[in-house]
């Protein structure tokens, strides 16, 4: 067990954790932010996607010891009131069904739009292909990303 200082959604946390403990479980069980989800544990489904220094990572397969000083942003860090353009677009296009994968989908989409303000279908495919949705909301995810891109124009 070691002590780690983390910045999550702009807040400073100190956690005692095994160095191999994935960031996912630190966020969910030690810090108590449950919006980030466990789906596969092997970085195949993307339900656990968070941002590390702005880049999307699969927190289920990212040990807490590798975080260092990089700031972590989770779904809760986008906005409390669903005012982030991607959240607004997700609501406008009525994307979620069961909703379990959507935190990860949204975090991947936010990262995409941060690097590409007007992504085409190929860019969306490349950025979003790591996120599985068993309910099959993909057509609406695609649409919502384009809607969100429109909000910031």
């Amino acid at each position: 067990m070691s002590s780690y200082k983390l910045s999550v959604n702009g807040e400073a946390y100190t956690v005692d954790a095994d160095e191999q403990m994935p960031l996912l479980w630190v966020i969910r069980d030690l810090i108590g932010l449950t919006g980030t989800k466990y789906g596969c544990g092997i970085a195949q489904c993307g339900a656990c996607t968070v941002h590390l220094s702005g880049a999307p990572v699969r927190s289920c397969s990212f040990p807490v010891s590798a975080v260092g000083e990089q700031p972590v942003i989770t779904i809760e860090g986008l906005s409390e009131d669903n005012s982030h353009p991607v959240q607004r677009a997700w609501i406008a296009e009525q994307v979620p069904q069961c909703g379990y994968c959507q935190s990860g989908q949204i975090m991947s989409a936010v990262a995409l739009l941060a690097s590409n303000a007007d992504p085409d279908d190929e860019a969306i495919n490349a950025a979003m292909n790591g996120n599985i949705c068993r309910c099959g909301t993909y057509p609406r995810i695609r649409k919502a990303i384009k809607t969100a891109a429109g909000y910031s124009h």
Partner: protein
């Protein structure tokens, strides 16, 4: 057991009847705790206002809370139910909150979330409840004003006097209204007068799902709660010989290690639980746990031997002499075999359940499709009176049928009782994907004969599968039989065609295996539909007729004629160009009818790619068109995965695929443009959540034949291998 006896509903009825009686004198929450403002709609049944007819609660400020007695796993019940209640209650959806009703069949009726039953099963009761409550509020206002009820009407949460234009809000009336007797008869609105039903009102659960605040089963926390993971047998029906937990107990945080079991139909499946202060610690403890297993008392199923058994069983099905005679009379005859695999549900939220079991009461929270069954099952197995078993539904991260099985709540209750503490039992993805129950694979032999006009004269469908529910009985399935001549209830198999085909025959062969099987979205129709609608296409080709025209000939029901006409328009069916493959299929299950048309082409590398899917849903009277479109879109994606990407196979008595690396799911880049259209008619409400799935695989296979001349008769197949 006869296949026709094993409809899902019959099975559930039998299961429920064999358990504790589903009646309650009164609902008593096991432990008092308050839910004053419902942000996340998990409730203990306490409502923030005065109750009106169980389902409706209004507080003095006029805030309306409506109960949703069925679970929300993405299918939209959470929105559709309040839309129905609010319409007749005359309140705006903007002004209502929704809460999940706890298990309480006496108060809320049966609560199983299955069979695409929410709207089709509940519309009459909810409309009537909303209307009764409205009339009671009007009556209370009329009494207040000393006027006749007929002078008053309700609008937007207020009762208004037509003559004086006086107004009283519902909040001021509810106390008095709740003491009135509900009217024996109420007038329901005409469909043309609806303000809420039939409109795409945005779903109230969606904002909870875009900021991480929705509480799923895995997000439930209780004070002092421990976490448990279970090393379960990998080979079906093996039992624990002994285990060595010496290393496990050295892991900081691990507090208990002990043998547990889990009811799977008539058997118990065994495992060893590792309980710890944190989930991570429990997982680490499990990694170093050593378990020795006794060999199973049954065969070690493998896909190759299962398939051999199914083929052999198909040959053993009895003959229908009448059918054989008619079939022999046909000038053109065709026989084909179809094969479909086992499938995993693989909900994005792996199974989990949180339990708090005390000396005289059980309380559980979780992603639960079957609140009543679980309540009765826990009551019976733990010998706790049913009124002391509280079952609370969280949001479900997918269900698809898997979360309508009471095994995982039992495990959580078992462990909580043993450690005398609240506990959350978490299944890893691997646990979830390998334990089952699975959708059973099904094999078919189909025969069809045409008359001189090129119409189907005789049609036979023989099926070999592991019937769902047969493992409930210790008795192996009987002799394969010819199950019906011009009769028999095989969901999704030839359903709509029966009026148009003079002679048809069904046979069924139950295949025995220790693999647990159960319903998976659209159940038998998910495999029957592929076999039947592909073979109908084969017969159309044999007759030299256009596949859509051939179906029109054999589906005389006006509802189907309208559906096919509309599909013809939407696809511009006559404009079929060269280098395109078009396929269509129509299936009916859970009283919803759906047609899909798939258009494919070859890409620059010569690979087959789907250009577009056009879906047409006929679910009769409906509540929320946007939810219908979403359900059909999602069904197509799920069907695409099952048809072209994944299957569960078995070796050495265990499932081979354990995670998404070997059980690949459709991803965003795999999804073609999808158009969903809804038929407008005044038929009774039909199912939506499941009927959108079965037509996809046959429509795709029919399109592939159209383009390439190659007939797909086995699922899954890889689109990359079609040229």
């Amino acid at each position: 057991m006869k296949p026709q006896d094993i409809s899902r509903r019959n099975f559930l009825r039998q299961a429920a009847c064999s358990g504790a009686a589903l009646t309650l004198a009164a609902y008593l929450p096991a432990y008092g705790h308050t839910t004053s403002r419902i942000i996340n709609p998990v409730t203990d049944g306490t409502l923030p206002g005065t109750e009106l007819l169980s389902w409706i609660s209004i507080n003095p400020a006029g805030k309306v809370t409506l109960m949703c007695n069925r679970s929300e796993m993405g299918q939209g019940t959470f929105q559709a139910f309040p839309q129905m209640l609010a319409e007749e209650l005359e309140v705006s959806l903007d002004d209502v909150e929704i809460a999940f009703a706890p298990a309480n069949p006496e108060k809320y009726g049966p609560q199983p979330q299955e069979g695409s039953f929410s709207v089709r099963g509940w519309a009459p009761r909810l409309l009537h409840t909303g209307a009764c409550a409205r009339e009671m509020l009007i009556e209370a206002a009329a009494a207040e004003w000393h006027v006749s009820k007929n002078e008053c009407y309700a609008e937007n949460g207020t009762v208004i006097n037509r003559k004086t234009e006086k107004r009283l809000p519902y909040g001021a009336l509810v106390e008095k209204a709740a003491k009135l007797k509900p009217p024996a008869e109420v007038n329901l609105k005409k469909r043309a007068d609806y303000k809420i039903i039939g409109k795409s009102a945005p779903r109230k659960d969606i904002p909870l799902k875009t900021n991480g605040s929705a509480i799923f089963g895995l997000d439930k926390k209780l004070p002092g709660m421990k976490y448990a993971v279970i090393e379960r047998s990998k080979r079906f029906r093996e039992t624990v010989k002994n285990f060595d937990d010496s290393e496990t107990r050295k892991v900081p945080g691990v507090s208990h290690v002990f043998k547990v079991n889990r009811p799977v139909f008539s058997q118990y499946s065994e495992g060893v639980a590792v309980v710890a202060d944190s989930l991570w610690a429990a997982m680490q403890g499990r990694k170093v746990l050593k378990v020795d297993w006794n060999d199973p008392d049954s065969d070690l199923p493998a896909t190759a031997s299962l398939e051999k058994q199914m083929h052999e069983n198909l040959q053993k099905i009895g003959r229908h002499s009448k059918f054989e005679t008619e079939y022999e009379r046909c000038g053109q005859k065709l026989e084909a075999s179809y094969e479909t695999p086992y499938q995993s549900h693989s909900c994005m939220e792996p199974l989990n359940c949180t339990a708090d079991v005390r000396a005289d009461a059980i309380e559980i929270w979780g992603p639960i499709q079957e609140a009543n069954w679980i309540q009765a099952d826990l009551s019976q197995r733990f010998n706790v009176p049913i009124e002391r078993v509280a079952v609370h539904m969280t949001f479900l991260g997918g269900g698809f049928g898997r979360k309508a099985f009471p095994d995982y709540p039992y495990e959580a209750a078992f462990i909580s009782k043993e450690i005398q503490s609240p506990v959350q039992v978490v299944w890893t993805r691997e646990d979830d994907m390998t334990a089952g129950p699975f959708r059973p694979g099904a094999f078919y032999t189909l025969k069809g004969g045409l008359d001189t006009q090129g119409r189907i004269h005789a049609f036979q469908a023989n099926t070999a599968t592991q019937w769902i529910g047969q493992e409930w009985s210790a008795t192996p399935p009987g002799i394969p039989e010819a199950a019906g001549y011009n009769t028999g209830d095989f969901e999704g198999l030839l359903h709509p065609y029966r009026k148009g085909i003079p002679h048809y025959s069904f046979g069924g062969a139950g295949t025995h295996s220790p693999i647990p099987v159960m319903w998976w979205r659209s159940v038998y129709a998910s495999t029957h539909g592929f076999a039947c609608e592909s073979f109908i296409d084969e017969l159309a080709r044999l007759a030299g007729k256009d596949p859509l025209a051939f179906r029109r000939e054999h589906l005389p029901d006006p509802r189907y004629q309208a559906l096919i006409d509309r599909m013809s328009e939407l696809t511009n069916w006559q404009s079929h160009g060269k280098n395109q493959g078009w396929g269509a299929a129509f299936t009916e299950c859970f009283t919803g009818i759906c047609g899909h048309a798939v258009k494919i082409t070859r890409n620059a590398e010569g690979k087959v790619r789907i250009e577009k899917v056009i879906a047409l849903m006929d679910c009769g009277w409906y509540v929320n068109p946007d939810i219908i479109r979403a359900q059909v879109e999602g069904s197509i994606v799920m069907a695409l995965g099952a048809a072209t990407l994944h299957a569960t196979t078995f070796e050495d008595g265990k499932a081979v695929q354990q995670n998404f690396d070997t059980y690949p799911m459709p991803r965003i880049a795999d999804i073609p443009p999808i158009e969903v259209h809804i038929m407008e008619n005044d038929e009774k409400p039909g199912g939506v959540g499941e009927p959108g799935l079965p037509p996809f695989a046959p429509a795709l296979a029919n399109a592939i034949f159209d383009l390439t001349g190659r007939r797909i008769r086995r699922l899954p197949f890889s689109l990359d291998e079609i040229s």
